[in-house]
């Protein structure tokens, strides 16, 4: 830790702690999850950067959506995202969450994930290499530094829009709205 960082820590401890303690939720959403074990184990060792997998959404503040998102998974993704505590960051991994990827004409996957939950950053590719997760984490640091990783604020402000999109795909949602929508 250099001297420059100590002044940053004193100035904004919450921001710095959010940067260096990204706990990713251990939730297998699609094919891309196979790239995550090498990242968190000996080969690429993401724990150097404070990134460790945790088992529950309550403890996590980083959500990796890896690979295609089927309609059934979307329900679990939304519930998981809403259970995470603020501030929280979501990253779309692979080309399928961005625009449907190779499932662009499938009847059972959704095409644009950011219509349903706010995404702070994308990792493009099919499949991205494991190093891409580490690069994404460093990019996320920059975004947190500039207060641009504010997906959870957007979610709160535009909750009506997101809820409407979710109901369009999933039908009637069987959980109450996270924020009041009047």
């Amino acid at each position: 830790m250099d001297r420059n960082q100590i002044t940053k820590w004193l100035k904004a401890p919450a921001k710095m702690a959010n940067k260096y303690s990204l706990h990713a939720i251990y939730f297998c959403t699609g094919c891309g999850i196979i790239e995550v074990p090498p990242v968190i184990t000996s080969r690429w060792d993401a724990e150097r950067f404070g990134v460790i997998p945790v088992a529950t959404p309550r403890q996590a503040n980083l959500f990796l959506i890896t690979g295609y998102v089927s309609v059934k998974t979307l329900r679990a993704i939304i519930r998981t995202y809403e259970q995470m505590l603020e501030p929280k960051y979501a990253i779309g991994f692979g080309s399928c969450p961005i625009n449907g990827g190779m499932y662009w004409d499938s009847y059972n996957t959704i095409k644009h994930l950011d219509k349903y939950i706010p995404i702070d950053g994308w990792i493009a590719g099919c499949m991205p290499r494991p190093e891409a997760i580490i690069i994404a984490v460093t990019h996320l640091w920059t975004l947190i530094d500039k207060d641009m990783a504010n997906g959870y604020v957007k979610y709160r402000e535009n909750y009506e829009y997101y809820r409407k999109n979710q109901e369009k795909v999933l039908g009637e949602l069987d959980w109450p709205p996270l924020y009041s929508t009047e």
């Binding site: 702690a17 000996s42 529950t56 603020e86």
Partner: protein
């Protein structure tokens, strides 16, 4: 008077610093055994700062109070337990009182988790209580033989006797008891062969599953205290305490690193395997140790 108040305030702080240092060291050493570089040593502190700044979700009154109860229980044990030559409340009780108050920590967690109403919590708590049933039997036998040998229940006196006559783990009748305590130490600490209580892959980290934000930070602090207390008790009873703080902490460090090496290479027991192990070897050793101690002493 003033020094006593200062000691009462400072000794939990010191215990907390040592416990948190151990948490960080554990992650670093585990990483090096896995041939990884590992997180910085202050990573638990960074995590705690993050968790204290995060929003948190409560599940009711008992959910809040339970975790405070377990934290309070741990702090009281730290006050009664001598480390180095510091023991603020030395006259307030010995091993028997510590045995009773040590139960508050898992009990508070169980109460707090009970209101979380998550099935994973119930499974985790039931595993924790079964495991406690497993290690309490050899632990009580070990403590009984120690108390019989020294003919006192005061830990301070035991430490003083050991300072003059040598460590009890290398004295003949207590060797078996010390070995037995070391064998159940991973179960008390929740380290790897016995971490079925908070297994992240099976039951989503068990009792911790609903904790987030400040609650998780308090749970981490509580874990640091439990780590400190269990190892300090071992050092006090069997490794002769410490003439000063430095030797005491060095002894604790050695015991902890030995426990970590076991933690790094073992897979996880199922709960009935753990009970089978705990009620076989450590209990047998402790029982034989107790009989020999009684035979020599009477």
């Amino acid at each position: 008077m003033v020094t006593k108040v200062m000691k009462i305030i400072l000794s939990p702080v010191l215990a907390l610093i040592v416990g948190v240092f151990f948490l960080g060291l554990a992650r670093k050493i585990m990483a090096r055994i896995h041939w990884r570089y590992g997180p910085p040593l202050i990573q638990p502190i960074i995590d705690m700062i993050r968790l204290f700044y995060q929003k948190s979700v409560s599940h009711g009154c008992i959910f809040d109070l339970g975790i405070i109860l377990s934290l309070a229980g741990s702090i009281v044990v730290v006050l009664i337990l001598p480390f180095g030559q510091i023991c603020p409340l030395a006259g307030s009780g010995g091993l028997l009182v510590i045995l009773y108050i040590m139960l508050l920590a898992p009990l508070g967690m169980a109460l707090s988790g009970g209101q979380g109403a998550n099935p994973n919590i119930s499974i985790g708590i039931s595993r924790k209580l079964i495991l406690a049933l497993g290690y309490e039997v050899p632990l009580l036998l070990v403590l009984l033989s120690v108390m019989t040998h020294y003919k006192t229940i005061s830990i301070v006196e035991m430490v003083n006797i050991q300072q003059s006559t040598g460590w009890s783990i290398i004295s003949w009748p207590l060797f078996l008891s010390g070995l037995s305590y070391f064998l159940i130490l991973p179960a008390i600490l929740g380290l790897r062969p016995f971490d079925m209580t908070s297994a992240p892959q099976e039951i989503s980290s068990g009792p911790m599953v609903e904790y987030g934000g400040k609650y998780l930070a308090l749970a981490a602090i509580e874990h640091a205290f439990v780590l400190f207390i269990s190892i300090a008790l071992f050092v006090n009873l069997f490794l002769g305490g410490g003439a000063n703080l430095i030797t005491f902490f060095i002894k604790m460090l050695v015991v902890f690193v030995l426990g970590l090496c076991i933690n790094a290479v073992f897979p996880r027991f199922r709960i009935e395997q753990a009970i089978k192990y705990l009620w076989k070897w450590p209990t047998l050793l402790a029982f034989v140790g107790l009989i020999i101690t009684i035979a020599i002493r009477s």
